[in-house]
């Protein structure tokens, strides 16, 4: 068995007396899509922020490719290859696709202190990367605001991949999208996985998780309820684990399995 690229062992996070995470264990293999499921308030966002370096865990261990690491800022995590795509804060709508793609890591040309943006290079690479992800841009100068929600997520994912992400954390990438756009994002996830990148797919939609997930971990009240491999768990089981069992089962019966 290969070592996981990212491993979180018994992670705890306390905010004063509030315990947000009480022992979460989680790992991602290269080329794997590991779905992290959980209802609102289960501690998903705290856990994401811990993985991406925005929070320092109170207890537990974090390993990258087998080595223990301690992140104090998102920048450090990013440098180690952990990229996070937030659901709504990924892109700046009024700026062009190319400018968004390169934001923070702009290619420059020039000499000495006189440096300017290398638009030719930036645009060419942006177009090519977008094409690889299945988006045909009219022009790289097109504003991100003209893209659909799914395409915006794809641009953000393509950006993270291009800049060398080894682990890609996707925070509810499909929650605000329609059916067709969701399908596009799921396809993108599949493409990324095939490049050997470990994907952490956070969602509360079991069907989206089942569509691309290799492994599934359910988070409930700051704890992991266990990890299951694809084919060893049904969507009904995942659903009831997420909601904490009992009550939902009754509710589901009366709703005729529509949730």
């Amino acid at each position: 068995m290969t070592t996981p690229i990212l491993e979180m062992i018994n992670i705890q996070k306390h905010f004063g007396r509030i315990i947000a995470l009480s022992g979460v264990s989680f790992s991602v293999m290269p080329g794997e899509c590991h779905c992290l499921l959980g209802d609102n308030g289960a501690g998903k966002s705290t856990f994401i922020k811990t993985m991406s370096g925005a929070h320092t865990p109170t207890g537990g261990e974090m390993r990258i490719a087998g080595d223990t690491v301690h992140f104090t800022s998102p920048r450090e995590a990013l440098a180690a290859g952990i990229a996070t795509v937030y659901q709504d804060l990924a892109m700046i709508p009024l700026m062009s696709v190319s400018r968004n793609f390169w934001l923070g890591r702009e290619p420059e040309a020039g000499f000495g202190p006189l440096r300017w943006l290398d638009f030719k290079k930036a645009d060419a690479i942006t177009l090519e990367q977008m094409k690889q992800m299945g988006i045909n841009l009219r022009e790289p100068g097109q504003a991100v605001g003209t893209l659909s929600g799914g395409e915006r997520q794809t641009v953000a994912i393509a950006r993270a991949v291009y800049f060398g992400a080894k682990v890609l954390i996707l925070d509810e990438p499909t929650s605000a999208l329609g059916v067709r756009q969701t399908a596009n994002v799921l396809t993108t996830i599949d493409r990324v996985r095939k490049k050997g990148i470990g994907v952490v797919f956070i969602t509360h939609n079991v069907r989206h998780a089942m569509a691309v997930g290799d492994r599934f971990t359910v988070l409930n009240r700051g704890k992991t309820l266990g990890t299951a491999d694809r084919g060893h768990i049904s969507s009904e089981e995942l659903q009831s684990l997420m909601a904490g069992g009992q009550e939902l089962a009754q509710l589901e019966a009366s709703l005729g399995k529509t949730i």
């Binding site: 700046i92 009024l94 700026m95 420059e108």
Partner: protein
């Protein structure tokens, strides 16, 4: 806009050389401030204290020259430093407290105006500090702010009969327009540099990003706070440039100078297509807005229209511009 006044004022002095210089100078005053304001607004912040800052910088400069008695060039540099510091305070306060820049800079609008009047009265016994012109004569850098450029060229043009010259009086034979005011050159230079930085450099990209969506920008590693504070400083320096230039040009520093300038600059920027919410706009647009502003103001003067109508007209184009900008924004972002 030009065509409008060309028809109305075609026969007057407006489009003669001295008329052109006249409204260009007025426009240049607006442009200098508008460049700073546009960059600041694109970065997502306001500065209402800039008009007061222009008045304040002129006063600081005047008092340093006349009452402290230091050389003019030292006073110019010191004034720029003082204004950059106030710009920094503005910026840091806005970033640290998370308060809207509207409130913080509104406070500074009053603080600086009050300080300007108080210092004039306290140190000078009257609200106008005069005598700067004599002090500035012969100074190594003062001409950069209050002088005129290409005077030799204009004298030559006058001698060749290409441009009009005075026919009578003590200045007979000298050209009516004896050079291009330095402020116009500053304005042109600032627009070129500002536009280049904004659209062609990495830092410009960060300015757009800081105003467009600060959180998203932070997520990808853009130092949003630093960008915003720097833009406050740039705007403050632009205001200081205006204040110092006027002080040298008029030979005096008046404590009421720069009143309303902050709003006029914002109007220029908005007419030029920038969004009040930040993240969109251009320096060239703001400069065009400023030229429109200058042309309208001087144009109404030349066409003998009651000058109070100037404000009515301005308010109307401001409204039109804001509405148009909002629609453009919606069409770009797909919002409803």
């Amino acid at each position: 806009m030009f065509a409008f006044f060309l028809i109305l004022a075609g026969g007057t002095q407006m489009f003669a050389l001295d008329g052109v210089i006249n409204w260009s100078t007025v426009s240049a005053q607006f442009i200098v401030l508008a460049v700073g304001v546009s960059l600041l607004m694109i970065a997502g912040e306001f500065d209402l204290s800039l008009g007061s800052m222009a008045g304040f910088s002129g006063m600081v400069f005047g008092l340093l020259v006349i009452h402290v008695g230091i050389p003019v060039w030292v006073a110019i540099l010191l004034t720029f430093v003082v204004c950059a510091l106030i710009g920094t305070i503005n910026g840091v306060l806005v970033i640290r407290t998370g308060l809207p820049s509207f409130v913080v800079t509104l406070a500074f609008m009053f603080i600086l105006r009050g300080a300007t009047i108080w210092s004039a009265i306290t140190f000078n016994k009257q609200p106008v500090v005069s005598g700067i012109g004599d002090a500035a004569a012969g100074d190594p850098i003062a001409w950069l702010f209050g002088g005129k450029a290409f005077t030799g060229l204009f004298t030559w043009l006058g001698q060749q009969g290409i441009i009009e010259t005075y026919t009578r009086g003590t200045r007979a034979g000298q050209p009516i327009v004896d050079g291009i005011p330095m402020l116009i050159l500053w304005a042109i230079g600032l627009v070129i540099v500002g536009q280049w930085v904004l659209t062609r450099t990495k830092f410009g990209n960060w300015i757009y990003a800081a105003g467009g969506d600060p959180q998203a920008a932070r997520n990808v590693g853009v130092p949003v706070a630093r960008v915003k504070v720097l833009m406050f400083i740039v705007a403050a320096i632009c205001a200081a440039l205006l204040g110092i230039s006027q002080a040298i040009e008029f030979g005096s520093a008046a404590s009421d100078r720069g009143i309303m300038k902050e709003f006029e600059a914002i109007i220029c920027v908005v007419i030029g297509g920038a969004l009040l919410t930040g993240g969109y706009g251009s320096v060239v647009g703001a400069a065009l807005g400023a030229v429109i502003f200058g042309v309208v103001q001087q144009g109404l003067f030349f066409t003998n229209v009651e000058s109070s109508l100037f404000r009515v007209f301005l308010g109307t184009i401001l409204l039109g511009a804001v509405v148009a900008n909002t629609y453009i924004r919606r069409s770009i972002t797909g919002e409803r």
